[in-house]
């Protein structure tokens, strides 16, 4: 067969690709360190996170009451607050000093203060004030306390209005208390929960971060094993840049198709999170996400010189990446510079697209910008991987040639010595 014919090149390329792919797979499964990132972390992390947030919402935030009015109306108010799911009345205090001490001891996270003239004002038809003091160590405490007190005040207000209006029918009562009715509807996260909000983003981030770590570590290992600290060995199968990249990438893709099936389909199911994704949409979206993550990881892996260095370099980035994705901090409030910066990472588009597909039932049409961006990233990072790998291959070829040259010189010198 003609050695330069296209068919021959293609065949050789394909064989080389398969060889590199199987070799890489073997390497992954032989190397405990890489295996931890490719299997153990993706298996275990989602479970830990889902377990932490499994209760979704804060219930029964302990609060103290200082009831100086001590009337039937104030007691009714307190009873209603206590009855709400969000707040539990932990203690009844004689004065503010006592309540403050409880705050300092973190026995309670809020104080409800009912002044002396509370029922007197109500009786006189004046406005009465109830003061709520919240510990601000957690926003969720504040939210629960505020919500519960506001709801209670609305309920009590209605009762008072009905008493005062002296209407004759129930319909009249309704009209007096709420001339315009309203209703709030929670979409896509019916219990307003923390897990349903944060976990989908974390799941997608885990895919990118473990790929970065795993690919980085195997690159570091390859360098350490190689005599010249080169990333790519100089053997027959590692001749073309394209087949090296495609071979490695297909190995990672194979592993991660399985891993993502577990992370993105099984985990939400196990913890009863919102999951209304259309299967084909999800698959179509995940494919470019995995590819862009893989090429991104391969490009970055050039920076990793030592096996363990990848942990020191990559791990801390998870926290900023989660914030920049626009889930935990609203995307509309992210400054322009950081928004542009976030476009570097596949996770930004991946998380946004996945949340909308998984939690909000979006179709590919609705996540088109993200979908396109992921393909763009795939292309871009493929090119960068190609360039960096080609550079690496040239380097290792040069090292091999140098070695050959030295070898020949030695042989020559030995011959001359003999002669």
């Amino acid at each position: 067969m003609n050695r330069k014919s296209l068919r021959y090149t293609l065949k050789q390329g394909f064989i080389g690709l398969l060889h590199i792919c199987t070799h890489e797979l073997k390497q992954v499964f032989k190397d405990q360190g890489v295996l931890i990132f490719f299997l153990l972390v993706p298996l275990a992390y989602p479970l830990i996170y889902a377990f932490i947030y499994t209760n979704e919402v804060v219930r029964d935030v302990p609060a103290a009451v200082v009831d100086l009015s001590n009337s039937s109306q104030s007691r009714e108010f307190i009873r209603l607050v206590d009855a709400s799911a969000d707040v539990k009345i932990q203690s009844y205090c004689a004065d503010m000093e006592e309540a403050k001490t409880l705050l300092k001891k973190t026995k309670v996270y809020g104080v409800i203060y009912i002044p002396e003239d509370f029922s007197k004002n109500l009786a006189e038809g004046k406005q009465s004030t109830v003061s709520l003091y919240c510990d601000m160590s957690g926003m969720l405490y504040y939210k629960s306390l505020l919500l519960s007190c506001t709801n209670t005040s609305l309920t009590v207000n209605k009762q008072i209005q009905i008493e005062r209006a002296g209407n004759t029918t129930e319909r009249q009562d309704e009209l007096t208390t709420a001339p315009i009715e309203y209703e709030d509807v929670s979409l896509f996260n019916p219990q307003d929960g923390f897990a349903s909000f944060l976990i989908p983003a974390v799941l997608m981030l885990i895919i990118q971060q473990t790929l970065l770590l795993g690919v980085g570590m195997s690159a570091g290992t390859a360098r350490e094993h190689n005599r010249f600290h080169d990333l790519i060995p100089q053997t027959r199968h590692y001749q073309g840049t394209l087949r090296v990249i495609m071979g490695k990438a297909s190995a990672y893709l194979l592993i991660y198709l399985m891993v993502s099936a577990y992370i993105l389909c099984l985990v939400p199911k196990m913890f009863n999170l919102v999951q209304i994704a259309l299967p084909w949409t999800l698959l179509a979206f995940i494919f470019p996400y995995l590819l862009s993550c893989i090429f991104f990881a391969m490009t970055c892996s050039v920076l990793i010189k030592h096996r363990e260095a990848c942990l020191v370099v990559y791990v801390f980035t998870s926290v900023p990446l989660l914030f920049i994705s626009g889930i935990s901090w609203p995307g509309a409030a992210i400054p322009g510079f950081w928004k542009a910066f976030s476009y570097i990472f596949p996770s930004t588009f991946g998380i946004n697209g996945f949340v909308r597909i998984n939690s909000m039932g979006a179709t590919l049409q609705e996540v088109l910008p993200e979908y396109r961006a992921l393909w763009l990233q795939t292309g871009f990072y493929f090119i960068t991987t190609f360039l960096t790998f080609r550079h690496q291959i040239t380097l290792s070829r040069r090292h091999a040639l140098e070695r050959l040259y030295v070898f020949r010189l030695r042989k020559l010198a030995a011959k001359r010595l003999k002669g």
Binding site: F197, P330, P335
Partner: protein, 391 residues
């Protein structure tokens, strides 16, 4: 301590400073990465409280009254009405596209019904897949709905001849006055950055500490290092980690000055106790790193464990999702994370400025963390003297 030990400590420390200065990875993990994160988080959440978040309206009534409601809604702090949709399904699609976080629905005939006293119903739809944005929009849209209802009631009452004060007293007999203690602006940056900064620093200290120890074994320099310390592991460790403690403490001072001096976040205890807390956190984190390495005696495993511990810290320390809402098992486990204790000290000191005696538990816990290396000293010594690196 004898003069000789001092000398040994000095030579080891010198050697360590040289190692840090010549290897880029140390400069990255000790200085570049934490400072980058500090700047990143504080500029990302510059606004403190997100304002003007995009929301839509579906106004099928389209009268002067409903348009007035929408205008008022737009004037609220957190809401910016960006679009008007012809139907609910169109608005839902916009939500799925991520264009809006919420929409306000006014059905046809709302005004007419309100005027005729037939109790119309408006609704607002909120996407809680974005929890912070959703909660803030909920607050504003609910207030708006209450106000709209009250406006109608007030008009009726005023027409009946009541004064404005009387009308208000009738419409809202009980008013809730909220005092958000020490963070009255509800600034999210205050609430997140104060724990994110030390958290990032702690994670990087874990990793750097373990990496420093592991590379001694990996590069076959452990014996040389031990010899410099006359084979005393305590001297060896002190000499090696004191320079790092100093640099990390400087970073801790930096973020404290940045938070309380430059950004003027609440610091009711004065900065000095927070600097001490920072120092305590640095030492506790280093100690925990040494402990983990001694436990696993393998660089890769120890680093993996430290990553797990460090990353989980952000969730389990309870500064976003409270520990009291977690499973009881996790509530117990949370004491094993140094960041949890630091967070409690911060709340007690900088945020609330309470007497330090109320925070004795977290302080003692962090002190206990600093003692952890003593459990593994012997193991470490054997490892450093006899072990070879295992990948």
């Amino acid at each position: 301590m004898s003069l000789q030990t001092w000398k040994r400590l000095r030579t080891i420390a010198k050697r360590e400073v040289f190692r840090i200065a010549t290897q880029p990875i140390y400069l990255f993990s000790i200085i570049v990465a934490p400072i980058f994160c500090f700047v990143f988080f504080s500029t990302l959440m510059e606004k403190g409280l997100p304002t003007d978040m995009p929301a839509g309206v579906v106004d099928l009534d389209n009268t002067a009254t409903t348009r007035n409601i929408i205008r008022n809604l737009d004037a609220f702090q957190h809401i910016r009405i960006t679009a008007s949709y012809a139907s609910i399904s169109e608005a839902r699609r916009a939500m799925q596209k991520g264009e809006i976080y919420s929409f306000y629905y006014i059905p046809e005939g709302t005004t007419e019904k309100a005027l005729a006293n037939r109790q119309p119903k408006v609704s607002f739809y909120i996407n809680y897949s974005y929890l912070i944005a959703g909660s803030l929009l909920y607050k504003d849209e609910r207030t708006m709905s209450e106000l709209a209802s009250a406006a109608v009631g007030q008009a009726t009452l005023l027409a009946k001849g009541a004064t404005e004060a009387q009308a208000m007293a009738f419409l809202q007999p009980i008013v809730i006055e909220t005092h958000a203690l020490n963070n009255p602006w509800l600034n999210y940056s205050v609430y997140l950055c104060n724990t994110l900064f030390p958290g990032i620093l702690m994670l990087l200290i874990f990793l750097t500490t373990i990496y420093t120890l592991g590379t001694e074994l990996k590069e076959n320099t452990a014996k040389e290092w031990m010899q410099m310390a006359d084979n005393s592991i305590t001297t060896a460790l002190f000499g090696k980690f004191l320079p790092q403690t100093a640099i990390f403490f400087l970073i801790a001072v930096f973020y404290n000055v940045y938070l309380y001096g430059f950004l003027h976040y609440p610091c009711n205890s004065g900065i000095f106790p927070m600097l001490l807390a920072g120092l305590l956190l640095v030492i506790a984190s280093q100690a925990f790193g040494i402990f983990l390495f001694g436990l696993f005696e393998n660089l890769r495993l120890a680093l993996s464990a430290a990553s797990l511990w460090g990353v989980i810290s952000f969730s389990i320390s309870g500064f976003t999702y409270p520990v009291m809402a977690m499973h009881p098992t996790l509530q117990g486990l949370s004491v094993l994370f140094p960041l949890r204790h630091y967070f409690l000290i911060y709340v007690n000191q900088a945020l609330n400025g309470y007497p330090v005696t109320y925070a004795w538990q977290p302080i003692v816990s962090l002190l206990i963390f600093t003692l952890l290396p003593f459990c593994v000293l012997k193991k470490l010594r054997t490892a450093m003297l006899h072990f070879v690196y295992l990948p």
